[in-house]
């Protein structure tokens, strides 16, 4: 818990099998892992907005800092994005 970058490369998706480890909202994904976007469970606008930011199904990114009530940080193709809880709970991800 100490620091956002503390547990890089730690155990991702603990207790879940790697190939089909299930889909989680980004807000509950473990930090420091590579993740893949499975879908966006929001309205039409959110879909379009996320796509413009480069977040769409199939994209891989890294969760630098999990939310825990505050915005989470993701690393996506060299750019760092911070997403509030309202957004990150609607992005469904899986381990990459």
């Amino acid at each position: 818990m100490f620091g956002c970058f503390g547990k890089r490369g730690g155990r991702c998706w603990r207790g879940l099998n790697r190939p089909n480890c299930g889909v989680l909202p980004l807000s509950r994904a473990p930090q420091g892992c590579r993740i893949r976007v499975e879908g966006i469970d929001g309205g039409r606008q959110l879909c379009a907005r996320m796509a413009a930011l480069g977040i769409y199904p199939g994209v891989e990114m890294e969760l630098l800092c999990a939310s825990c009530g505050s915005p989470c940080l993701i690393k996506l193709r060299g750019s760092t994005l911070s997403l509030g809880a309202g957004v990150s709970e609607k992005i469904l991800v899986t381990a990459a």
Binding site: I40, C47, L53, Y56, P71, R77, G78, L83, V87
Partner: protein
């Protein structure tokens, strides 16, 4: 087209943080603000550049990720492109994040715009192991591609020449045609045919683009379409609804998702086969990320943030002290010079009390403001300010605001300095109108560059030992008030849920010296301009309000009698000598000192009586009925009234009020020393005044902006009345509480 021969209109479009404003500055050398913060260039900015005898008018569009109608920036950019129809568009893309940046490019091309691609930050991309075949990319996209490094101006000439040749070609717009797959394409073709046949909105948009926007449910285009032709619009909407329902049923998705998917597919195909080569080392953490590990750390981040913000104060105060002293001395000697040269009378009073004191007190704070802006520009250009927004979002959410509200607060003066006018404008980055209004109404509580000198003066007078610390506390207090009031507004007048937080954190960059200087100078110059025009005018207006109508004959006669009574105590031969002492040059013989003091006392009382009788004095006196509860006398009231015009004027009005209360033969004492020596003032009163000034009605300029931004007069009026009430309440609590507890009395 009119005036084609002389001027070519070119637009600059791109994602936030791709170096767009830097390139704009490099080309035009324009004095304008470059931020590292998404959405800071909401205003349309223009610059001029001459090339080969051709005058280029370059418009810097707001940074956007797409051309949907999601945010105000996107609408502004889209409207400009469609309505003003620039002859060419420079689309600046970040080479190290090409895929996402091309998403906007694709949309520009779908609109049919004559695009030239500026492949910016090509050096940073190479450092990250990214190789781009610009020639092949240009061939595949069928637009010119020019690699640039905007920071150092590399590729600038070539880019401009390319763009100019594109503009001179002046070919008709050719929209890019992308396939959107079996689910969308048939209906898209059908809609396109329908639009083409009916000439529906074709004067503004390409047919296929309109069809796409109907599928995306774009509100602005839908509204326009319904206005233009209700029947066609309904048919298009029906077609779009059918597809949407079908897609929901069969694929559980929206047309937008499919459209985005195919756009990225198009981009991926574009970059295949060696156009974009990414070496494997791209995954490692770069310096910027390493810095973020510390600077946005959950525990060290906030601590470091407070240290950094505190350092801004220390820097500002310590380095500006010396130049301020020079300026003060300069104006004091100017005042002394006017004192000896001008004859006694209203003109002398105008020059010394109205002009020199008024301007001097304002110009005296220019160094302070300059150093502060330099520090802020540094934080902005390095990219740290975006981290502040990220870290504070959680806090802001609790108060019903948005992480982006931080920007409005900071620009308004959250880091002492700034101005509520651009601050109010910065709220355009907020999407939800409730959060936006709450930010709009509370941003003026921040300590803008105009309130700052007033606080600095009062602090220098009453809390000289803890200058920087006190200023820091004042700033914290203004944040606290703004947040508490925002929470109050959000849970009463503007109740409703918060919008999601979305912000790109730009990589840390070392700001360019030129960029820093441009920002600092631009903001400082704005302040000086204001000081030179509005403030001088108001300083004189208030001098007039305070100098007229003056005492009537009877009262003047009474003071004359009092003077005669004093003079009657000395020998008749010395009376003339005593009268001239008031002029300042004569040595005072020791035996007359008592009589001279008495004469001065009479003069002082006369001036005071005249001021009290003046128009401003009368209004201020009337207001004492309310303000005596917070310890303000009519002189403070007069100053506060003048601050309504612009906060800077508070100092000059107080200065005018107090120097007019003297006979003027003493050495010019700076206002802060004058106040600290006044028996009517004490630290408690000074602190109450600070709080009142912090919270009460925003200046006219800000109120105008609030009206403009909120689109309603009532919010401007509301901010005047509501803020003043909040200020009165807070001052009342502090002053009466302080009196009870005997603090600072």
């Amino acid at each position: 087209m009119k005036g084609v021969s002389s001027e070519v209109l070119i637009a600059l479009a791109g994602n936030p943080n791709c170096g767009k404003t830097t390139l704009f500055n490099a080309i035009t050398g324009a004095r304008q603000h470059v931020g590292n913060y998404p959405g800071i260039t909401v205003e349309k900015k223009e610059g001029f550049y001459s090339l080969n005898g051709c005058q280029i008018r370059l418009v810097d569009l707001p940074g956007t990720y797409s051309l949907t109608a999601y945010s105000l920036e996107e609408l502004v950019a889209r409207d400009f492109l469609v309505q003003d129809r620039p002859r060419a568009v420079i689309n600046i893309v970040d080479a190290s994040n090409l895929e996402r940046n091309l998403y906007l490019t694709v949309q520009l091309l779908e609109l049919g715009l004559p695009v030239t691609l500026a492949l910016n930050m090509i050096d940073a991309a190479m450092n990250r192991g990214i190789e781009i075949d610009a020639a092949e990319l240009s061939r595949r996209l069928r637009v010119p591609v020019v690699p640039t490094v905007a920071r150092v101006g590399k590729g600038k000439e070539e880019l401009l020449e390319t763009v100019l040749s594109v503009a001179e070609e002046d070919r008709p717009w050719e929209p890019l045609h992308i396939s959107y797959g079996p689910d969308i394409d048939p209906v898209l073709d059908q809609m396109e045919a329908l639009i083409r046949k009916a000439q529906f909105l074709t004067e503004a948009f390409p047919a296929r683009w309109t069809a796409l926007k109907y599928l995306e449910g774009d509100e602005q285009v839908l509204t326009k379409g319904r206005e233009a032709d209700w029947a066609i619009s309904s048919r298009l909407e029906r077609l779009s609804d059918q597809v949407t329902v079908h897609l929901r049923k069969t694929l559980d998705t929206y047309p937008e998702a499919i459209i985005a998917d195919h756009r990225y597919g198009f981009i991926a195909a574009l970059l295949k086969g060696g156009v974009l080569k990414q070496n494997k080392k791209a995954d490692r953490l770069y310096l910027s990320d390493q810095l973020d590990r510390v600077l946005t750390n959950r525990f060290f981040g906030p601590v470091l943030m407070f240290i950094i913000l505190y350092a801004v104060y220390q820097f500002t105060f310590n380095y500006s002290r010396l130049p301020i002293e020079w300026i003060e001395k300069g104006f004091a000697s100017l005042s002394g010079f006017a004192e000896t040269v001008l004859p006694r009378g209203p003109l002398k009073s105008l020059v010394i009390s109205g002009i020199i004191d008024g301007v001097g007190s304002v110009v005296g704070f220019v160094p302070l403001i300059m150093f502060m802006f330099l520090a802020i520009a540094f934080l902005e250009d390095t990219g740290y300010l975006a981290r502040v927004a990220y870290m504070l979002d959680r806090v802001f959410r609790t108060f019903g605001l948005h992480g982006n509200s931080v920007m409005a607060y900071i620009v308004s003066g959250g880091i002492a300095g700034g101005c509520a006018v651009p601050g109010v404008m910065a709220t355009r980055t907020l999407r939800s109108s409730r959060e936006r209004l709450a930010t709009l109404l509370t941003a003026p509580f921040m300590n803008c560059g105009a309130k700052f000198p007033v606080f600095a003066m009062l602090i220098a007078a009453f809390f000289p030992a803890n200058h920087a610390l006190m200023m820091f506390c004042v700033t914290l207090l203004s944040w606290a008030s703004a947040l508490v009031v925002a929470k109050f507004i959000r849970s009463t007048l503007l109740r409703g849920p918060s919008t999601p937080f979305l912000l790109e954190l730009p990589p840390y960059r070392l700001p360019t010296f030129k960029g820093l200087l441009i920002h600092t100078w631009e903001r400082t110059w704005q302040y000086i301009q204001k000081a030179g025009t509005i403030i001088l005018a108001f300083s004189m207006l208030f001098w007039a309000l305070m100098a007229f109508p003056g005492l009537d004959e009877r009262e003047r006669g009474r003071f004359e009698e009092e003077r005669a009574a004093v003079l009657s105590q000395v020998e008749p031969g010395d009376r003339e000598l005593l009268r001239t002492i008031g002029e300042g040059e004569t040595e005072i013989p020791a035996e007359f000192s008592e009589a001279v003091e008495e004469l001065k006392e009479v003069d002082r009382r006369e001036a005071q009586a005249a001021l009290k009788r003046s128009y401003a004095g009368r209004l201020g006196t009337t207001l004492e009925a309310v303000t005596h509860w917070v310890g303000f006398d009519w002189r403070t009231n007069v100053a506060l009234l003048s601050g309504f015009a612009a906060k800077e004027i508070i100092i000059s009005t107080l200065g005018t009020a107090y120097s007019m209360g003297e006979t003027g033969d003493e050495e010019s004492v700076s206002l802060s020393r004058r106040l600290s020596g006044d028996s009517g003032w004490n630290p408690l009163k000074a602190f109450t005044l600070i709080v009142f000034i912090m919270l009460y009605a925003p200046c006219f300029a800000t109120v105008t902006c609030i009206i403009k931004e909120s689109g309603a007069w009532k919010w401007g009026l509301f901010s005047v009345v509501f803020n003043t009430l909040v200020a009165l309440l807070a001052s009342l609590l502090i002053y009466q509480g302080g009196l009870r507890l005997r603090l600072g009395v």
